[in-house]
């Protein structure tokens, strides 16, 4: 048995992506905070975000936050809570300005202001034309946010515990007392004892085969909370980004289409004209992903294969600008300057120069709209009635406020991170002084240590990767862009089987303690399996199509029965669903056309 | 990293590009020149202090064994000089760094162009010297006796 160490802090923040760091920055101003992350903070996947962060700064053309709010609500297919969306869009402006003051090197307009560009789903509400709202630093906006926040944390001497893998939450009744983590370097268990715990562990795209998500995005935070009785909200809504590199899933930002890039099928048609006549290629992600999927199913892929083309060569783009009567034109230099990383990806992985040739793309699993339910102060909800778990917070992709509803608008995740990360941090800073430090339960770490010993010593037949591949396959085939009752039942059956094999028939090679990533990957697989099952279960039960959840057997949105959030919990191995009404303020649900 | 040996071994093993080898060559040539320089300065001083000793060393340098070293020295000085200028230029003109690979090639090229004829010429002289020695019945490897100079 390895050693157990104990640390005491006011607040423990799990995860050092955009949300975790923003919270840490604020919380550490007034309290003693520990940031515990399984990766070095700068390795977090926030760094992969490319396109931009939206805020209605109105730096080049008229814009206001209410338009942003409307676009967000419309993008969400009316499932977002509008009070939360108001907070998001109003505070976005402030948050972006604050990032600039922290030193974030945004691109600039000639007048010295932050540069903004068009992005899918962002419009001028009056003219319905795309609006320039996405603030950006070339195509590495997320990288710059992550770096800037990390820099500020260093400046403010935040306590970091890097490469500590959190594996359990210490829940005491309806409150929390800390978390348990494994020090990856030594394999020792550490108890982080605190008054408040915040999860900011990001998404779980690794449930699917083709994904834009990092290998480390295994939904640990969500799964840990779920195991400790926290409900999961809106898990059926997972976003498939339309433009991932064929087979690899590496994301090609919407910014490409923002700069004028066009989607073309095997017949050379600009098929988005059919699906979204007004804003075409810049329609919301769910719309474009489905369009691509349908094109592929109709045999309109390139050379009959499973991909279409995204064409940003100046030749093509300028042709369509001309056709549309637009005066702007793009040049090679524009692409090199505004999309350097994209150009680098396609050159490296495909040997394709995006200035000369179109890129092969297909939809890729991208973003979890659902997750740990929270209020607008990032406090975690215990149930669909809105009761709160004292001291537990969540923000970022792992959380569901819900501002993204059934489909997240591009750039809004980064806004979510900074706005709600900040709110969480402020709330923690203000409240921690009055909160009490609950005593640690006896043997707080016992159950998770037992689980680790089981995984370490189990002598089954399957290696974790085999189970993982099977899970990814069934999720892709059956709980992907389009779903049916039948497909999801198949997925649930397979997932149940996988779970049993995971519990009883698994084996790993590494029996050691130092950097035992074999063991940790096996544990992560447990999280993925858990979340995959919740997703499939929640998806099977939602009998309508909305946003990212597209059912062939229920092709229409059904506001009468389904304008509500789902809350999934597990009691004694049985899933239980509960529902929470959507908060609607100014924008009544309407049909969604782009 | 700790040990000299490890550093040296890894510096040889690293598959760097031109810059890496330019650095290696610059360093080795610099040290080689220095070694020679120190010897040379001290013995040149003998021209004043012990002329006989100096004359002996001049004689010594004519012998093939040393003449080979002299060719090496010439190579070291030329390469070190060209590469030193390259480094200096690039240091003061950062905007030229795009051309670093090319510049490394150029300094090697310049070195070969200039060193080849000089080296060849020096080599021919060396052979001639050898023949001359042979004509006197000496081998190339004989070294003039110091004693005879000190007498």
């Amino acid at each position: 048995m390895s050693q157990i160490h104990t640390h005491q802090h006011d607040a423990i923040i799990v995860g050092a992506g955009g949300a975790g760091l923003m919270a840490a920055l604020y919380a550490s101003k007034k309290s003693n905070v520990a940031v515990v992350s399984k990766l070095y903070p700068t390795r977090s996947h926030t760094g992969a975000a490319q396109g931009g962060i939206s805020a209605a700064l109105g730096n080049v053309e008229e814009d206001n936050w209410e338009w942003h709010a409307f676009d967000t609500v419309k993008g969400s297919d009316y499932l977002a809570d509008q009070d939360a969306v108001d907070v998001l869009c109003k505070e976005a402006i402030d948050a972006v300005i604050e990032l600039e003051h922290m030193g974030l090197p945004f691109d600039r307009f000639p007048n010295g202001k932050i540069s903004q560009r068009r992005f899918g789903g962002h419009t001028n509400n009056e003219t319905k034309k795309p609006v320039q709202r996405a603030c950006h630093a070339a195509d590495r906006t997320g990288h710059m946010i992550l770096q800037t926040l990390y820099q500020q944390c260093i400046k403010n001497k935040v306590n970091f515990f890097d490469e500590y893998h959190v594996v359990d939450l210490i829940r005491v009744g309806n409150a929390v007392a800390g978390v348990i983590a494994v020090d990856v370097a030594t394999g020792d268990f550490h108890i982080f004892h605190g008054k408040a715990v915040m999860f900011a562990t990001g998404g779980w795209g690794r449930c699917w085969e083709v994904t834009s998500n990092a290998h480390s995005l295994t939904g640990d935070g969500a799964a840990i909370c779920f195991r400790r009785g926290v409900p999961m909200e809106d898990m059926e809504f997972f976003q498939f980004h339309p433009t991932g590199i064929f087979k690899l899933g590496i994301l090609i930002t919407e910014g490409v289409r923002g700069e004028g890039g066009i989607l073309l099928n095997g017949k050379g048609e600009r098929f988005m004209e059919k699906y979204a006549p007004t804003i075409k290629d810049l329609a919301s992600r769910d719309v474009v992903s489905r369009a691509i999927f349908l094109e592929l199913r109709d045999g309109n892929g390139i050379n009959g294969q499973n991909y279409v083309h995204l064409d940003v060569t100046p030749k093509t783009v300028n042709k369509y600008f001309e056709l549309a009567g637009e005066s702007r034109r793009i040049t090679r230099e524009d692409i090199e300057q505004k999309l350097p990383d994209i150009a680098d990806f396609t050159r490296t992985y495909l040997g394709i120069d995006p200035v000369e040739e179109p890129m092969p793309i297909q939809p890729t699993a991208h973003y979890a709209m659902g997750g740990i339910p929270t209020d607008v102060d990032a406090r975690v909800l215990a149930d669909a009635q809105g009761n709160i778990i004292t001291g537990l917070y969540a923000a970022g992709e792992v959380a569901c406020v819900s501002v993204h509803g059934a489909n997240r608008l591009g750039t809004n995740s980064l806004v979510d991170l900074v706005v709600f990360g900040r709110r969480a941090g402020m709330h923690i800073a203000e409240n921690v002084p009055h909160m009490e430090l609950l005593p640690l339960p006896k043997d707080a770490a016992a159950s998770v240590i037992t689980e680790f010993e089981r995984l370490r010593t189990s002598k089954g037949k399957h290696k974790p990767y085999q189970l993982r591949q099977r899970m990814q396959k069934t999720m892709t085939d059956n709980v992907g862009v389009f779903r049916t009752e039948e497909s999801m039942n198949a997925a649930l059956a397979e997932l149940k089987q996988l779970r049993e094999e995971y519990m009883g028939n698994i084996t790993i090679d590494d029996k050691g303690r130092i950097f035992n990533t074999d063991l940790l990957e096996a544990w992560e697989l447990g999280c993925l399996l858990e979340l995959a099952e919740v997703t499939a279960y929640a998806a099977r039960n939602r009998q309508e199509s909305r946003g990212g959840h597209a059912r062939e057997d229920y092709p229409n949105r059904d506001d009468e029965n389904w304008l509500k959030h789902s809350f999934c919990q597990k009691d004694d191995d049985q899933f239980r669903l509960d529902y929470k009404p959507v908060t609607i303020l100014r924008y009544q649900p309407k049909e969604r056309v782009y | 990293m700790s040990t000299l040996l490890l550093t040296v071994r890894e510096s040889m093993r690293y598959r760097g590009r031109s810059g890496h080898y330019s650095w290696l060559a610059h360093r080795i040539s610099g040290l080689a020149i220095l070694l020679f320089l120190v010897m040379h300065v001290w013995d040149t001083a003998n021209a004043h202090f012990y002329p006989a000793l100096y004359a002996w060393s001049l004689e010594l340098f004519k012998y093939p064994l040393f003449a080979v070293g002299e060719i090496g020295l010439m190579a070291a000085v030329l390469y070190h000089a060209f590469n030193g200028i390259r480094i200096t230029l690039l240091d003061f003109k950062p905007e030229w760094w795009k051309h670093q690979e090319k510049s490394a090639t150029i300094s090697w090229g310049l070195f070969f162009i200039i060193f080849t004829p000089i080296g060849l010429y020096m080599f021919i002289e060396l052979i001639a010297r050898c023949n001359e020695l042979a004509a006197h019945g000496n081998t190339c490897w004989t070294i003039p006796s110091l004693a005879s100079y000190l007498r």
């Binding site: - | 040149t44 021209a47 004043h48 100096y54 000089i118």
Partner: protein, 148 residues
């Protein structure tokens, strides 16, 4: 302290800052400067002594002739000073790469400085007070004694 000293001409903001210089910076600059000087001095010297007059012909007499001119003596003095300083500082750089004990490196630097100064003085005296006539006589005597 930073002040903006002009944006109009180059369009970018250039600021002036005060930084305390340290010896490493001067050593660095000296390496470049002396390097350029040595390009002329050392390469010139090599070409003259070892190629144009192949060492085969290099005798005390030749040196005596050359050092008859104060110009050449000055040339060689510069070469001596620059090369020794440049080379020994280079050696110091190399040694400091591999020897990390601050105390040891301090003593190494001191030793190298001392060694450099002594070398330059010793050889400097040699060059400055070299007597061409005497050398010529010595060479003559030698030649006879060697029976050439």
């Amino acid at each position: 302290m930073t002040t903006v000293i002009g944006t109009a001409k180059r369009k970018v903001t250039i600021r002036q800052v005060q930084i305390q210089a340290n010896s490493e910076r001067y050593a660095y600059l000296f390496m470049r400067m002396s390097g350029v000087a040595l390009l002329v001095l050392a390469v010139g010297h090599m070409l003259i002594q070892h190629v144009l007059n192949s060492s085969g012909n290099l005798t005390l007499l030749f040196v005596a002739d050359q050092w008859n001119s104060w110009g050449w003596r000055a040339y060689d003095m510069f070469l001596l000073a620059f090369a020794v300083a440049h080379g020994l500082n280079g050696l110091r750089n190399v040694l400091e790469d591999y020897i990390h004990n601050p105390n040891t490196t301090k003593w190494i630097s001191r030793f190298l400085v001392a060694f450099g100064i002594i070398t330059i003085i010793w050889a400097g005296i040699g060059i400055a007070s070299f007597d061409s006539e005497a050398a010529r006589a010595a060479q003559e005597a030698l030649r006879q004694s060697l029976g050439q």
